[in-house]
């Protein structure tokens, strides 16, 4: 143990800043592998390849490019390669996945809260999954509240942890791809193999395949998180100029926002007519006018109001889920 501590393990006394410091990044004598000339050469080849593929105007910068450019200016150490992101040397398939950098999180929060963009739009812009965007916004809101309440934040801890993890940087003009955002979620109904004979003369599309799994299952194209990205790509392949594509998308966005506002207005109108609020001393009383006959002749209709007579509660029955199943 002492031999290792004083030998190859000596480098870990002073861990390398802005690096994962995994064992696999060092060779047997304790030298950083990516610091050697051989590794550097292969890196240059890779970056040259990457630049070739960059010609497309819509292509987003890959994760590796940004830190490379930075490091070449500041110090001689090349950025971490995929080799360096293996925490378990024997498990070559496992790689550390990047987390959102602080700047990127701030940018996401600002886009959603300050600019008022939809979660979907922000997700598409930064290439971060919608669920993650939602989580970032919620947690940032908590952070803002804590700052307002003068609560102590664990910022040094955050900095220390983030220093040891690969991060997705924030590049204002060309957002870096953080993760794949348009994956088809696996629906329970599709988890079976079905042998379904269809005649050759019949056009059997993805929609038909969805119906085979379950009559109510939407087709895969409607279940993906960002169908609009597919549309945009189709326009691009059809040779539509970029300005026109953007205008078209803006028009669609405007229509969606209009529809949303209309729904909200209708909900508000319904609430205003259906509910009557009587202010009390400590709280309001909210009266809703209902129809007592909605419970039906047998008094069991689900539309009825009130605790029912004549049958027991089902809350102790098996399979009754009482914890909330979604967050609104």
């Amino acid at each position: 143990m002492w031999a290792w501590l004083n030998g190859p393990g000596r480098v870990f006394h002073q861990p390398l800043p802005q690096s994962t410091n995994y064992l696999g990044a060092y060779d047997k004598s304790g030298r950083l592998i990516r610091g050697t000339t051989r590794a550097r050469k292969s890196d240059e080849d890779k970056s040259a390849q990457a630049k070739d593929g960059e010609e497309d105007d819509d292509a987003l910068t890959e994760l590796e490019k940004k830190p490379q450019e930075n490091n070449e200016d500041e110090n001689s150490l090349p950025p971490e390669t995929l080799e360096d992101l293996r925490p378990f040397p024997l498990n070559r398939e496992f790689r550390s996945q990047p987390v959102l950098s602080v700047e990127l999180r701030d940018a996401i929060y600002n886009r959603v809260v300050r600019d008022g963009l939809s979660v979907k739009a922000v997700s598409a812009e930064f290439r971060v999954e919608m669920a993650r965007v939602g989580a970032v916004v919620r947690l940032k809101a908590v952070e803002e509240q804590w700052i307002k309440e003068n609560k102590r934040l664990a910022t040094p801890y955050q900095r220390a942890v983030l220093d040891m993890l690969p991060r997705t940087p924030y590049v204002p003009e060309k957002p870096v791809v953080h993760e794949s955002i348009n994956d088809l979620p696996v629906h329970q109904a599709t988890r079976q193999q079905i042998f379904y004979p269809a005649s050759e003369s019949r056009a059997f599309t993805r929609e038909d395949a969805g119906k085979v799994f379950d009559a109510t299952l939407l087709p895969a194209d409607a279940r993906i998180p960002h169908p609009e990205l597919i549309e945009q790509e189709k326009w691009r392949l059809a040779g539509m100029p970029k300005a026109e594509r953007e205008a078209m998308q803006a028009e669609l966005d405007r229509k969606a926002a209009q529809r949303k506002a209309e729904l909200e207005r209708r909900r508000k109108h319904k609430e205003d007519t259906e509910f009557k609020t009587v202010p009390g001393r400590r709280w309001d009383f909210k009266f809703q006018d209902i129809n007592a006959n909605a419970v039906g002749q047998d008094e069991r209709s689900l539309k009825g109001v009130g605790w029912r007579y004549g049958f027991p509660h089902e809350d102790r029955k098996r399979g009754q889920i009482k914890i909330p199943r979604n967050v609104n």
Partner: protein
């Protein structure tokens, strides 16, 4: 037998929930009533985000669901609200309030005593509001 409009306590321990029922006075609290008029949830709910934005201030609220048409009918045929139900029905003006803090001064003066019982229950919203104010 007297027909009453009253509350029937359902819900769980520490989580009361009431049915607003029309029932004969001498029947048990939770026995099957003549009719269920609605519900009263006495636990104040947190205001929703959207409402707080509009109002500017957050106020908790209690949910009351009530079939006003049926309630008016039962009051009209002489059903007698219990005290808590009197308060609730008075809030939406179906009957005249029994007691209000600012009316004490009026009572001590020459103003007539508040109309109670059947005659009050027959009056509908605008009249009651007019006389109360």
């Amino acid at each position: 037998m007297v027909v009453k409009i009253r509350l029937a306590r359902f819900g769980k321990r520490n989580a009361p929930f009431y049915n607003i029922v029309v029932a004969h006075a001498r029947t048990a609290r939770n026995s099957k009533p003549i009719e269920v008029l609605g519900t009263y949830d006495p636990i104040p709910k947190e205001p929703r985000e959207s409402e707080a934005g509009n109002e500017g201030q957050k106020r908790k609220f209690k949910d009351i669901k009530l079939d006003t048409v049926r309630a008016k009918y039962w009051l009209g045929v002489g059903a007698q609200p219990s005290d808590p139900m009197w308060r609730i029905l008075a809030m939406i003006g179906l009957i005249e309030p029994r007691y209000r803090p600012e009316s004490q001064e009026i009572k001590s003066g020459s103003a007539p005593a508040t109309v109670r019982g059947k005659s009050a229950s027959k009056k509908l919203v605008p009249e009651v509001l007019g006389s109360a104010v």
